[in-house]
């Protein structure tokens, strides 16, 4: 029985072995063409991946080698996954990538040089730091939109920025009391156009600015010649001619703490600035509510302004400027004549839990009359709430041959006490007194409608009593500002 069983088992084993061998041969014979096809497919995949690597800027990255070369099995799932990956990469390229070349950027870098002259990336006790420049190859892929933005920004940074603005003011005058009828019922209009040029060098912290202005039209001050101008647009400018309002170069020194400005200046842009009452194009138009009348500057002129601003809660300013009464008929024969010298200290505080306030004290020396004439003043603006600001000024000093005292006060409002979010309005009054002479009392209210970033419309109402004129007037007015 055991021998018969052994014989049967041998036969079965032989049969099974034969079957298995036949199966393997058969499968191998059928698999050969498929394996060839897949190898071709994989080779094609590899070429596609290499091409994508080049386009994406990873030229050095190897593509997955063909499976046939590595002896790996021909896995359909793996091929499908690689196709998916290629598809995804292609989608990315199509959707948001256009410029795929690696960028080369020259950068300022700090290197460390040892006594032998060898350069290192890291500091060490015997190495000295050296600033140098180095080209770096980066892989910041950018879209066309980003490239255009960069190009425009670079062009803007290296170019000259030109600004254009126009301010047109119409005022009417109505006498309310007094004997003088000049100007009563008359309408006045002033238009000014400014072209400004600004060029900057960020690396040198230097900028150049020029403002060419043409101003024309009769303001109310021709017929109502009070102690102060009723339209401050005409302050320090001559009517009906093209002129250079300002042209200066500004640079910053000592860690950008000291700003120096030299050229044709308007020192009122640097001194006695006030958060509410300092801009005749957007806020009060009466000159008595734009600057202290004791500053005494007649016209813009050659000068220098130095501002020490450590960006703490204080700063200090010094300025010297030549200011002729009549620039068309100058009397100064050198830079030593008609000089206004000014100094100001400004302090920023948040007193009694209130929001910020600016407190300034200034002094002025004027030699335009041959003698040194002095003046001093204070200028304050203090927020009482985030949108309500009180302001006040006081000044006392010699203006020309006269001793003048001037004070003003008022309040400015913003949204939510306004129609639109960026509107502003305010009311203020001032008094200007000449010692042993006439005086002027003035009040003004304005509302500035912020239509767009480029367009603003203001409504003003002025009341003025000036005993040098001999009458009181009410002057309603509008002002339209276009600025680009």
């Amino acid at each position: 029985m055991r021998g018969a069983y052994r014989g049967t088992r041998r036969r079965r084993l032989r049969l099974l072995t034969t079957c298995a061998f036949a199966c393997v041969v058969s499968v191998a014979a059928q698999a050969q063409p498929a394996a060839d096809d897949r190898a071709v497919l994989l080779l094609r995949l590899q070429q596609l991946e290499q091409r994508l690597n080049q386009i994406e800027g990873r030229a050095g990255m190897p593509a997955t080698p063909p499976a046939a070369a590595t002896g790996a099995p021909l896995d359909t799932q793996a091929i499908l996954e690689r196709l998916d990956a290629i598809d995804q990469r292609l989608n990315n390229l199509e959707t948001n990538v256009v410029l795929s070349e690696p960028k080369t950027i020259v950068r300022e870098v700090e290197r460390y040089v040892d006594p032998a002259g060898a350069e290192f990336d890291q500091p060490a006790p015997d190495r000295r730091p050296v600033l140098t420049y180095e080209r770096q190859r980066v892989f910041r892929r950018q879209s066309i939109g980003e490239e255009i933005e960069d190009a425009l920004a670079a062009e803007g940074a290296s170019g000259v920025e030109i600004g254009v603005s126009s301010v047109t003011t119409v005022q009417g005058a109505f006498k309310t009391a007094g004997q003088n009828n000049d100007g009563d019922g008359h309408v006045f209009g002033v238009t000014q156009a400014d072209i400004t040029f600004l060029a900057q060098s960020a690396a040198l912290n230097t900028s150049f600015f020029a403002d060419v202005v043409a101003i024309g039209g009769p303001g109310p001050d021709g017929e109502i010649p009070g102690l102060t101008l009723l339209n401050s647009q005409l302050a320090r400018l001559s009517n009906n001619r093209l002129q250079m309002r300002e042209a200066w170069i500004r640079t910053e020194l000592f860690g950008q703490r000291l700003g120096l400005t030299v050229g044709q200046l308007d020192l009122t842009n640097y001194f006695d600035r006030n958060a509410v009452a300092n801009d005749e194009t957007f806020a009060f138009i009466s000159d008595a509510l734009v600057n202290s009348q004791v500053l005494g500057l007649a016209n813009n002129g050659l000068g220098i302004a130095a501002i020490w601003d450590p960006k703490r809660n204080y700063n200090f300013k010094l300025g010297v400027q030549q200011s002729e009464d009549d620039p068309n008929n100058p009397v100064a024969t050198s830079l030593s004549n008609s000089l206004f010298s000014m100094a100001e200290f400004e302090y920023i505080a948040t007193p009694f839990g209130l929001p910020e306030g600016h407190y300034r004290i200034w002094g002025r020396l004027d030699n335009s009359t041959g003698d040194d004439r002095t003046a001093w003043g204070v200028s304050i603006d203090q927020k009482v709430t985030p949108t309500v600001t009180l302001f006040g000024r006081y000044g006392d000093g010699d203006v020309g041959e006269e001793r003048v005292r001037h004070f003003s006060a008022g309040v400015g409002f913003q949204s939510p006490f306004a129609i639109n979010p960026l509107d502003a309005w305010g009311i203020g009054s001032s008094q200007t007194e000449i010692k042993n002479g006439p005086n002027q009392k003035l009040a003004e209210a304005f509302y500035n409608l912020y239509l767009t970033d480029a367009l603003r419309l203001s409504f003003m109402l002025q009341y003025v009593y000036d005993n040098s004129v001999g009458a009181t007037y009410v002057l309603p007015g509008t002002r339209f500002v276009v600025e680009f």
Partner: protein, 420 residues
């Protein structure tokens, strides 16, 4: 019986072949494992390499856009202890560590992918395809979900950190820039820079529940198409109050901060600030928030108890962030290379700190503050450095060559982790 035996042998042969094939495939795949960037959605088991960062709270993470890597700097020694390369053209934007300290993640803006890095070994664990242009991101407080914002895709990709896979894409957003989770992790708020609303996301279902309008454009906006129909500057971020109850959402075009009560998701107050506020940064004690107003180069300090502007102070151009330390606020003016300093007791300016040499025009980016509120770690893109600023003395020291174009920094548990 014979048939079944043949079947057994045939299946043995086929099965053996399959095992051999699988074994062979595994061997060919192994050499590719370090190059995870080439293999989307492939996971590598974490923790297999050498531990380079034993304590994740002791490193500063630096995201280097141009060298496409994350660098890790030891806070004590100020040495780079490791870097993780993500793949060419990844352009990582923001880096963040998961609250449990296990993973570091970043979104590769140009690769449209999220990268997950083991926080201890610094190995790239996984690259996951997300939406287009991923930038800012956030983690749920329990570290379970990683929300990746895709501003160019108007979507947020939700990644489950357990399975390390995308479980949902939240669509219907408008340039989602930042995501803020409330402390209990039930809701997330998405700032939409391409709109004037904040999206409320139910974190249980990862669905957009509600859109909260921060403020309505004024009626006069129709007169001003260049301002309101040009490049929209909406809500960049919803900043959470210290108690986790309120959100402060600055809107650039409208120049306001809307205060949202997270209990009922409604705006309780609109605070007018300066022009073009980028976002609000909360002081560490939660008493004040600061908006940087790039439109008029000011900052507005908001008293969070009264929800009013306590002070508006002069600052610099191109402000990209605010850090708080030593009783001061440090405002980053990117293009000038200055940190503007403010005294947070008196709410007044307190000087400014120049980064780099006076002659250098560095472009500084964003900073993080250490948990002891002592030092700021400021990324400086143009000179490939991180500047360390001592908040008390304002002394500045430089760590050079951290990588190319460092864009931001991050410290685990810092209160000043943000991006721009």
């Amino acid at each position: 019986m014979r048939t079944s035996r043949r079947s057994f042998i045939a299946s043995f042969l086929v099965g053996g072949g399959a095992v051999l094939a699988a074994s062979s495939r595994a061997q060919t795949a192994m050499p590719n494992m370090p190059n995870m960037a080439k293999m989307p959605n492939m996971a590598m088991p974490p923790g297999q390499g050498t531990v380079k960062v034993p304590d994740p709270t002791k490193v500063v993470m630096i995201v280097n856009r141009d060298s496409n890597e994350l660098a890790f700097m030891d806070i004590a020694s100020r040495q780079i202890v490791g870097k993780t390369f993500l793949g060419n053209n990844a352009n990582p934007h923001m880096v963040m560590m998961s609250p449990d300290g296990r993973y570091v993640v970043t979104g590769g803006t140009r690769a449209n992918a999220a990268y997950i890095v083991d926080a201890r070994t610094l190995e790239l664990v996984k690259k996951i395809n997300v939406g287009i242009g991923p930038e800012h991101l956030s983690f749920s407080p329990d570290s379970r979900y990683y929300y990746q914002g895709n501003p160019s895709d108007d979507s947020v990709t939700v990644i489950d950190m357990q399975s390390m896979s995308v479980i949902k894409t939240i669509e219907g957003l408008a340039e989602p820039l930042n995501i803020t989770f409330i402390p209990d992790g039930t809701k997330a708020y998405v700032g939409n820079y391409g709109a004037h609303w904040v999206g409320v996301v139910d974190v249980t279902r990862h669905e957009l529940l509600k859109k909260i309008q921060v403020s309505a454009p004024p009626g006069i906006s129709r007169l001003n198409p260049t301002r309101y129909l040009g490049e929209i500057k909406g809500v960049s971020n919803a900043t959470i109050s210290a108690d986790g109850r309120y959100l402060y959402c600055a809107d650039g075009d409208l120049g306001v901060v809307g205060v949202i009560d997270t209990r009922d998701d409604r705006v309780i107050k609109v605070i007018r600030v300066g022009q073009d506020p980028w976002r609000l940064y909360m002081s560490h004690d939660g008493r004040y928030g600061i908006t940087v107003n790039n439109g008029d180069q000011t900052i507005s300090i908001i008293d969070t108890q009264r929800n009013e502007v306590a002070a508006t102070l002069e600052a610099g151009p191109d402000m990209t962030g605010v850090n708080f330390a030593a009783g001061k606020a440090f405002v980053i003016s990117s293009t000038t290379g200055f940190l503007y300093v403010y005294n947070m007791q008196t709410l007044t300016p307190a000087g400014r700190v120049k980064i780099g040499l006076p002659s250098q025009a560095l472009q500084i980016q964003t900073a993080t503050t250490d948990t002891g509120d002592q030092n700021l770690y400021l990324a400086s893109a143009t000179d490939n450095s991180v500047y360390i600023v001592n908040a008390a003395t304002e002394a500045v020291s430089r760590v050079a060559n951290v990588g190319l174009f460092p864009w931001g920094t991050h410290i685990m548990d810092s209160k000043d982790n943000y991006c721009h």
